[in-house]
């Protein structure tokens, strides 16, 4: 794949993920603002999310969007600071995406699987 085509695809992926994340972040902010009233407990969090296919799907999409959006943004910042793109930066950002995806999906599984209490 040519460098120009790769840049175009990454630009598109960054904007597409941003559009999805915008909706996710609005829901996440509203949930957080309401959920912290009266203190936050594991029972309260897990009571809302465990066994819920809807929350699992929502947070799954959220993690996918973040794992795409954050590394592309970091890649642009690092390349701008170094003055050029390189394969090393791409590999490092791919690794960061993999870490975010793995930890994020693990977190989604942790809060959504198991019995609803």
């Amino acid at each position: 794949m040519s460098s120009a085509r790769r840049q175009s695809l990454l630009w598109l992926a960054q904007r597409a993920s941003a559009a999805v994340l915008a909706i996710c972040v609005v829901v996440h902010l509203a949930t957080m603002i309401v959920a912290v009233r009266g203190g936050l407990t594991a029972a309260e969090i897990l009571g809302r999310t465990r066994g819920s296919v809807l929350w699992a799907a929502f947070y799954g999409v959220f993690v996918l969007g973040v794992a795409m959006h954050a590394p592309i943004g970091l890649r642009a910042i690092v390349a701008e600071m170094r003055g050029s793109h390189s394969r090393g930066i791409d590999m490092a950002m791919l690794a960061f995406a993999a870490v975010l995806l793995a930890l994020g999906l693990r977190a989604v599984a942790a809060v959504t699987t198991g019995r609803a209490s």
Binding site: V25, V36, I45, A109
Partner: protein, 122 residues
């Protein structure tokens, strides 16, 4: 003009809302990217049971951590506001006259979110 004569760090070029919007968007994005792995690791504690997650939540019940949480809510909300402005600029066309108002709405909205979170957290 000789490239060497360009003053790349000229602060006069940064004294406007657009530059500050760029800086805040970049700093908030970096902050969120650094925070995310820790956030996921904490939520992953629920794999070993609700008690483990409660242990971490109890640790967060201290002023400095609460202040950090409020700051993170602000960073998330301001990155959202700044990002929506960028999408509007890139897909809706550049309207110079709208930019100060859009930046002010993004900053105000983020401040409101952080204040609402702080009030409920208290």
């Amino acid at each position: 003009m000789n490239e060497g004569a360009i003053r790349r760090n000229d602060w006069r070029a940064r004294g406007h809302a657009g530059w500050w919007a760029f800086a805040v968007h970049r700093i908030s994005g970096l902050g969120l990217a650094i925070f995310l792995p820790a956030h996921f690791l904490v939520l992953g504690q629920a794999l070993t049971g609700a008690e483990a997650l409660d242990g971490v939540l109890a640790w967060t019940d201290r002023p400095l951590v609460k202040a950090s949480e409020i700051a993170l809510v602000f960073l998330l909300a301001v990155h959202l506001g700044g990002g929506l402005r960028l999408l509007l600029v890139e897909f809706g066309g550049w309207r110079a006259a709208w930019q100060p108002a859009l930046i002010a709405v993004a900053a105000g909205g983020a401040t409101l979110c952080a204040l609402l979170f702080a009030l409920n957290l208290a």
